[in-house]
Amino acid sequence: MTFGYILSIATFASIYAILILGLNILTGYTKQVSLGHAAFFAIGAYTQALLITKAGLTFWSALPLTILLSMIIGVVMGLPSLRVSDDFLVLTTIGLNFIVMGITEYFDFFGGAMGIIGITMPTIGGKSIGTTGYFLITLSFLLLTICICYLFSKTWGRLAMEATGEDEDAAQSLGINTSIYKMYAFALSSTFTGLAGVLWAHSIGSVFPRNFSFEMSVLFLSMLVFGGLGTIRGAVFGAFVLYILPEFFRFIENYRMLVYGGMLAMIVILQPNGILGRGGLLDRCILRLVKKKAETQEIS
């Protein structure tokens, strides 16, 4: 296993962690399950790709524009959630995934099925930064995202989002305008997911419609549910474990979607709060240990 290989795995794992942190705001906090998050990912990646290859911008000059656009399109794509909820919203997100994929595939402007190639690595001071430099950039963005998410988890906004997700009636009766918070969640979520798309586009160097399929959306949701809905640690953990494990155990590679799919079903039924979520597997183990300790102390 070469250094370069490990570096590329670490880069992609960090990118996915950013994406899952974004998904966490939407699905972990406001419980708006998205089975179409690859669409938000695609919007970040494609916007950046177009700005770089067609408008001739650089990584740094295109980045803010892409993020802004991701946020705006995210809110527009979130509008249906004001009318429909629960299962119907999930169908809507699946639909958005197919629509975005269809649009990128069938319009020449987006490169069609051939995609867009030639998305160059960012430069600093005129020099290309290479894979190590790019990993460091990705890692800093991940750390920045974690910081923002951590600070956000301490705000009134997060409380209001979680309240909205758990029970809209109760939330409303405590002064929460649930529609607004659903939109805020879409905006924040698509911002981070768009950022992940940008980073992804540069590290691959090209974007193709099939990179953003429904299967990817299922993978993203698996990562979040596996780690634990509604927690930062769970989101990062889920992204890293589910991305890295198959890379190291190549024999899994062939069964990847089988494992993901099966695990998604099992985890969500047996352990709806994931491995590291609140009241999840780890929490319960700790609770049990603490209790045992207390008991043994009582006896002695």
Binding site: T27, K31, V33, L35, L79, P80, R83, V84, D86, D87, F88, V90, L91, T92, I94, G95, L96, F98, I99, M101, G102, I103, E105, Y106, F214, E215, V218, L221, S222, V225, N254, Y255, R256, M257, L258, Y260, G261, G262, M263, L264, A265, M266, V268, I269, P272
Partner: protein, 284 residues
């Protein structure tokens, strides 16, 4: 023109047969049964296996395929849905999506990624005139769908079982407290819906002459659209909407500006409908 319409109707039959199972589950449990697509593919593979190894008869393979789908459908309910009924609503949904993805892989691993052809010889009616050709397969599909829906209609509206089923869709707890064995009703519900999905899989395999691991995906996405158009939980709605969707797709696809992929168009229509009528076009 007539030929296009006819082909669309045949396609619509498969949508309708899939959507009906989805809608039966939704009507009873309020779950969108994403894993339903797996049963469609399963039916086709089992039917094919039967045809190649057991008997040359299409009828037997149709029966065995449907039976297998029915059994697996009930197992699916017991294993993934019944433990998740009291959980938050996203739990059964995500679990279903997981099973759906896993099943596609399973078919690929067991049978290989390449399509098999589905050659069955059978005798049935056909119409062959210069301007309209209805092949035996098409005739069979249309007949199957009409008969299936008629049986379902009679079962639901004229039998005791149907009465109990309707009671369960109204209020499960009330039905249980008035002595109806709801577990049995749910099992039968899954059995019928799954058998229809399995048969739809076999019939489409016959029609397209191919069986492949992801064959269930497209038709099940269409089935989602169909239940939105036809109204959640409404069985006649599913039948009508299935055929309407197939016709709309076929004719819209001929208009140059709508050269988006068919599923993108279908989902676009679905989202628009949901925006204006969140309970579906013919929903109550």
């Amino acid at each position: 023109m007539l030929q296009v319409l006819l082909d669309a109707i045949v396609l619509g039959c498969s949508y309708a047969l899939m959507a009906v199972g989805l809608n039966m589950v939704y009507g009873l449990l309020r779950i969108i049964h994403v894993a339903h697509a797996a049963l469609y593919t399963l039916g086709a593979y089992v039917g094919l296996y039967c045809l190649l190894n057991l008997s040359q008869s299409l009828w037997i393979s149709l029966f065995v395929g449907a039976l297998f789908s029915a059994i697996v459908g009930v197992l699916m309910y017991r294993i993934i849905y019944s433990p998740a009924l009291t959980a938050p609503r996203y739990v059964p949904l995500i679990a279903g999506a997981g099973v759906f993805i896993a099943s596609q892989e399973l078919f690929r691993l067991l049978a290989g990624p390449y399509p098999y052809s589905f050659d069955a010889h059978f005798q049935f009616l056909s119409i062959m005139t210069p301007n309209l050709r209805v092949t035996e397969t098409q005739m069979l599909m249309i007949t199957f769908m009409v008969v299936a829906f008629l049986c379902l209609f009679i079962l639901i509206n004229k039998t005791n079982l149907g009465l109990m089923w309707r009671a369960c869709t109204q209020d499960m707890e009330l039905a249980a407290s008035s002595g109806i064995n709801i577990n049995l009703i749910i099992a039968i519900n899954f059995m019928i819906g799954s058998a229809l999905a399995g048969s739809a899989g076999i019939l489409m395999a016959l029609y397209r002459n191919s069986v492949f691991p992801t064959m269930g995906a497209m038709v099940s996405y269409k089935a989602f659209v169909v239940i939105v158009l036809g109204g959640f939980g409404s069985i006649p709605g599913a039948a009508i909407a299935g055929i309407i969707l197939a016709i709309a797709e076929s004719f819209l696809g001929m208009v140059p500006i709508f050269n988006l992929p068919r599923e993108a168009i279908a989902f676009l229509v679905m989202i628009l409908v949901l925006m204006f009528k969140p309970k579906g076009l013919f929903g109550r």
